[in-house]
Symmetry: C2
Subunit: 243 residues, 2 copies
DNA sequence: AGGAAAAATTGATCTAGGTCATAAAAAAAT
DNA sequence: ATTTTTTTATGACCTAGATCAATTTTTCCT
């Protein structure tokens, strides 16, 4: 079962299934391998590490984007602020870059807000240093383009899921994604409330509860409090695909 | 009215309004200005121009991505293929690049399909040449990153619109976008059927018709066949904002 | 021009899923 | 330990928008 994902990360795009769409796969720290020793030193000298507690806001949509963020430890949500409710773009575990789309001329503000689900540690890298590296090191820039494109692919899948699937499909998708991409285990302790899951799946809290109950009754998952175990991956994937 | 958009392209992101989200603003042809004469020649030598008739498919999701496409003339839709129905990611007028997110290592297939609304002319640029340019010319790569990030910003706005707004808001958004970003006039001859508009706004054809009737009755637009004129921008923007 | 096919329109249902109210359980605060 | 607050759970209801069916208009074809 797991090898499907290991062998072909992009299978979900090619087969038009759009499953597993809440988070990214690729480890993004690798982009720094492209830097020369001198450049690495430059980054080191101009970065600072900040620790955030659970629930804190790391960056605020529309505010001045002075830094690119690298999530060293933790789990965060990346979201657009909306009047009645926010729209979560992606959730990001450790070893990922956050704030890349803010790096462009003519706009130096954050496109989205980011806040933590759990205590997190973030490296802040000066955006001007980052831009300088992009201009002087084409291999680094190419790697960043790869990351941006991977993010885009993931976002497209997620939006397909949110726009076209109905509740059960969306819930199955998120549970699979949490299991396979975030916690990398079929049993995990979810640091999110039902309300948070509702925000993530773009449904009401009541619907989250009802659908989790359905899944529980059908023997798809075992739930005790915050602890969730996926019992039947095959069926869960089927539900995610059918919508 | 128009100066709002002229002065601050990104205003819609900063004010959390997410209007005007169906297409991009920036002219993307400018990225080629970053190339040296030698590099320009390389591109010229390795490109070919193809003309497509209305309704034809320019590229197919999942197929091998051998080329980056530059839309010289025409109007196309960029979409994810879906079982019951497709999801349109963006519509693209002339002077824009298409297929950029397919440029990344480990994946050489198109993330999406593209087909024409009207007769279109496309320059096909070899993807390997394109990747070579990215690796050897950091300024070019930086420009491409800008374009990718602008595309991302637009996509986020569009998805917010599709996921959170209801029918009237979505329709207002699309009409504003067509008027301001595609046709650049408050009156335009729309080469799309009601069914196409439905696909674009993620609603049924019947709903498109009903809402256009509402807008007509309220004096917001004038419609005769394919010809649409927006009579009241202020109110239309209000509807788009409120959802 | 005349007939066929496609597109636009309108009205009548039907339903997925949101909202509201209320209760039970769990967590936090005193 | 007991009160207060937050979270989870369940049922009743209600609405936005899809689907279906039937009609008119437009477009296309020979």
């Amino acid at each position: 079962m797991f090898c499907i994902f290991a062998l072909n990360i992009y299978a979900y795009m090619n087969t038009n299934n759009y499953i597993n769409t809440c988070a990214n796969f690729i480890q993004e720290s690798s982009c720094f391998d492209q830097l020369t020793d001198e450049e690495k030193l430059l980054v080191d000298k101009n970065q600072l590490t900040v620790e955030y507690k659970k629930g804190e806001t790391i960056c605020k949509q529309g505010s001045f984007a002075s830094h690119i963020m690298f999530l060293e430890e933790g789990l965060v949500k990346v979201y657009l602020e909306g009047k009645p409710k926010n729209l979560i773009l992606t959730i990001t575990p450790s070893s990922h870059l956050v704030g890349l789309p803010s790096v462009y001329d003519g706009n130096n503000t954050f496109l989205y807000s980011v806040s933590t689900y759990i205590d997190s540690k973030v490296n802040l890298i000066d955006v001007n240093i980052f831009k300088q590296l992009l201009r002087q090191n084409a291999n680094f820039a190419t790697k960043i383009i790869n990351i941006l494109n991977e993010n885009t692919a993931q976002a497209y899948g997620r939006f397909f899921c949110l726009i076209q699937k109905q509740l059960h499909g969306r819930m199955a998708d998120i549970l699979l994604c949490l299991s396979q991409r975030i916690f990398k285990s079929n049993e995990f302790n979810l640091p999110l409330s039902r309300n948070d899951i509702g925000e993530l799946t773009s449904m009401s809290t009541e619907s989250v509860i009802r659908i989790m109950k359905d899944f529980k009754d059908d023997g798809l998952i075992r739930v005790s409090g915050k602890n969730i175990e996926i019992l039947n991956f095959e069926k869960m994937m089927k539900i995610s695909e059918v919508g």
